[in-house]
C-alpha cells in the first residue's frame, strides 16, 4: 500500500489530489458524482467581503484543448459563504476533506478582512486560505496585486497578519520570471504556492467580427496550458522550499505525476472535471499505481524526483 498522504505546509491532505478554485463550486455541487476518499482537499470558488455580480454573458468559450473563461468571480460574499456554503458542504458531503478557501479583494485591506473573517469562523473543515492575486478577469482584484512584487509582498504580509490558517498564494503565470514573485510570497509569510492560474486569452467570432466573450478576453485553462504549467512549477520548485499546489490541464495521472516530479507537493484538477467528474479519483488511483510500479513507498517521494544530469 502506497502512503498517499502529503503536507502542503500545515495543511494535511489524505491524497495529493485537490480540486481547483472556480471549477468545483463550494465543494458540494458535484457531491453525487465524486468519491471524496480520493481527494485531499477541495478549493472553493473565489470569495470577497461583499457580493459581486461577475461579468456579463457570454462568460466562456470552448476551444480545442480547453476553455477560455471570464466568469468574473461572481459570489455572494464571505458571510454567505461561511454561513450557507460551508453549512451545505458539511451537510451534503458524507466524507468531507479540508476546504481551501480562495479569497480575493479590491484592496489590500479587503484581502486581510476576508482572511480575518474566514479565520474568525474557525470552521473545522476550513483547512487553508488561497489568495488569488492572478485572476485575469476582474480589473481590481486580481492581476493588480500579482503583477508587482512589492505590492504582492505587502498584500501577502497583510493577510499573514490577519490569519493563522495555512496561507497559499496563487500566482499569475504571465510574468517574465516567477522568482521575484516567489520571494515576495516568502517575505510576506506565505506557507505555500499555487501554480498556475489561467493564461490571458481571447477568442474572436470572425463572422460577426466581435470578441466572443462579453469581457472581450478571459483566461485559458485545460489541456492546452499543461506544459506551460509544468515549466512554471519546475522553475518555482528550484527557486523555493515552499510547497507547491500545481494545476493546469490535469486530465490523467500522467499529468499529475509530471507536476509532482517537477516539484509539486499536490495537484488540483480544474477544467477536466467538467467533462469527466471522476478525473480526480482516477488521477489519485493512477498516482498510487505509478508509485507501486516505480518503487515509491509514499506519494510525497515524487515531489521533485525528476532525474537530471
Amino acid at each position: 500500500m502506497v502512503n498517499m498522504e502529503v503536507e502542503l505546509g500545515a495543511l494535511k491532505m489524505r491524497t495529493p489530489v485537490a480540486t481547483a478554485s472556480g471549477t468545483f463550486g463550494y465543494g458540494y455541487e458535484y457531491a453525487d458524482l465524486i468519491d471524496y476518499s480520493k481527494l485531499g482537499a477541495v478549493t472553493a470558488k473565489g470569495v470577497r467581503m461583499e457580493a459581486w455580480p461577475g461579468n456579463p454573458m457570454p462568460r466562456h468559450c470552448e476551444v480545442e484543448g480547453g476553455l477560455v473563461n471570464a466568469i468574473g468571480l461572481q459570489g455572494q460574499g464571505v458571510k454567505h459563504f461561511l454561513e450557507r456554503d460551508m453549512f451545505l458542504y458539511s451537510r451534503v458531503v458524507k466524507d468531507p476533506v479540508p476546504v481551501i478557501v480562495n479569497i480575493w479583494g479590491q484592496s489590500e485591506e479587503e484581502y486581510a478582512e476576508v482572511a480575518a473573517a474566514v479565520s474568525a469562523a474557525a470552521h473545522p473543515l476550513i483547512g487553508a486560505l488561497e489568495m488569488n492575486v492572478s485572476c485575469p478577469n476582474v480589473k481590481a482584484g486580481g492581476h493588480t496585486f500579482g503583477q508587482d512584487p512589492k505590492v504582492l509582498e505587502s498584500v501577502v504580509a497583510k493577510v499573514r497578519a490577519a490569519t493563522k490558517l495555512p496561507l497559499i498564494v496563487k500566482l499569475a503565470p504571465n510574468v517574465p520570471s516567477i522568482v521575484p514573485y516567489i520571494r515576495a510570497c516568502e517575505n510576506g509569510g506565505a506557507d505555500a504556492l499555487s501554480l498556475i492560474n489561467t493564461i490571458p486569452a481571447m477568442v474572436i467570432d470572425i463572422e460577426r467580427r466581435v470578441p466572443v466573450l462579453a469581457n472581450r478576453s478571459g483566461g485559458l485553462s485545460g489541456r492546452a496550458i499543461h506544459p506551460a504549467a509544468v515549466k512554471l512549477v519546475y522553475d518555482a520548485h528550484r527557486a523555493t522550499k515552499l510547497p507547491i499546489l500545481a494545476m493546469g490541464g490535469v486530465y490523467e495521472a500522467k499529468d499529475a505525476i509530471e507536476f509532482m516530479l517537477a516539484g509539486a507537493t499536490a495537484v488540483a484538477i480544474g477544467t477536466a472535471t467538467f467533462s469527466a467528474p471522476d478525473t480526480a479519483a482516477k488521477v489519485c488511483d493512477g498516482i498510487a499505481a505509478y508509485c507501486e510500479r516505480h518503487g515509491f513507498a509514499a506519494a510525497k517521494e515524487l515531489t521533485g524526483a525528476i532525474c537530471e544530469s
Binding site: Y30, R223, A224, S275
Partner: protein, 254 residues
C-alpha cells in the same frame, strides 16, 4: 440524485433533415427524470477536453432517456455519427424542471427544439394544448408524437406553409382570449428562443397566470459549480443549470 451513466445508445435516428432522436439506456436517470430537466452528454469522439453538451429530455421511462436534438455545430455533428451499440457518458437529471400540476389547461408554447421538454411534460399533465411556431413547416418538430398522445397542436409559420401565417403568439393570444371569455383556467409553459420566452413571460405577468419559462444558456459544468450559465432574475445573476432551466415568469429580468 445526479448520476453519470455510461449509457448504451439504442437509437440515433434522423426523423427530419438535421434533427434526430437519441435514445439511450440510462436506467437510474430514466427513473428519476422530471419534465424540464436536462442531461449533459459527453460526445465520445470529441477531444478529451471538450465540454459536455446539454439537452432537454424529450422522454424518459422504462430505463431509457430520449433526447431530440438539432445538428448545429461540431458537438452535435459528432453526436449524429454515434451508432447504436456505442456508449455515451450522460449526467442527469440536472436542473429544476416544470411543476407537475396545472390549474386548468396547460398552454405549451414551443419553438424549434424547445418542444422537446414540452412533450415530456404533456405526457405527465392531464390536459394540454401545444402552440408551436417556426419559419416554415419544416421547423415544426415531433407533431406526430404530440398527436399520438392526444395533444392538440395550434400552429403558426412565418411563411404560412403550415397553420396560420405569422408568429406563434397569434394562435396563443387567440386561445387566451377564448379561454378568458369562457372563464376557463390555464397556465403557460414555454421553451424556445429568447424572443418567444420574453413574449410568454410578458403575457403571464400581464394576465397574472402562472408562467413557467425554460431558459437555454451556454453551460460549462451543468451542476451549479462554475457560474457560466447566467440569466438575470430578481435575485441577481442566477445559474440556469441549477436555479433553472425552468424559472417562474415573475423571477425573470430581461
Amino acid at each position: 440524485m445526479k448520476h453519470d451513466e455510461k449509457a448504451e445508445v439504442l437509437e440515433n435516428r434522423e426523423f427530419a433533415a438535421g434533427y434526430r432522436y437519441l435514445v439511450v439506456s440510462a436506467p437510474r436517470q430514466a427513473a428519476e427524470m422530471q419534465p424540464g430537466q436536462f442531461v449533459h452528454v459527453r460526445v465520445p469522439t470529441l477531444e478529451r477536453s471538450a465540454l459536455r453538451r446539454p439537452f432537454s429530455v424529450f422522454n424518459a421511462g422504462d430505463g431509457k432517456v430520449t433526447v431530440l436534438y438539432k445538428t448545429v455545430g461540431r458537438g452535435t455533428e459528432a453526436l449524429s455519427k454515434v451508432k447504436a451499440g456505442e456508449f455515451v457518458n450522460m449526467e442527469g437529471p440536472l436542473g429544476k424542471g416544470f411543476p407537475l400540476s396545472c390549474k386548468g389547461t396547460a398552454f405549451l408554447v414551443g419553438g424549434g427544439f424547445g418542444v422537446a421538454p414540452l412533450y415530456f411534460l404533456a405526457r405527465r399533465l392531464p390536459k394540454s394544448i401545444l402552440f408551436v411556431g417556426g419559419r416554415t413547416k419544416d421547423d415544426l418538430l415531433a407533431l406526430d408524437r404530440f398527436a399520438e398522445i392526444g395533444v392538440e397542436a395550434r400552429i403558426a409559420t412565418n411563411d404560412g406553409s403550415a397553420g396560420e401565417k405569422g408568429f406563434v403568439t397569434g394562435p396563443l393570444d387567440a386561445a387566451i382570449n377564448e379561454f378568458r371569455a369562457k372563464g376557463e383556467e390555464f397556465e403557460l409553459f414555454t421553451c424556445g428562443p429568447d424572443g418567444l420566452l420574453r413574449a410568454v413571460t410578458e403575457r403571464a405577468l400581464e394576465l397574472k397566470v402562472p408562467g413557467w419559462i425554460s431558459v437555454d444558456r451556454h453551460m460549462i459544468c451543468g451542476m451549479g459549480a462554475c457560474f457560466a450559465c447566467i440569466q438575470k432574475t430578481v435575485r441577481g445573476n442566477s445559474r440556469c443549470c441549477i436555479e433553472g432551466p425552468v424559472f417562474k415568469a415573475e423571477e425573470l429580468v430581461w
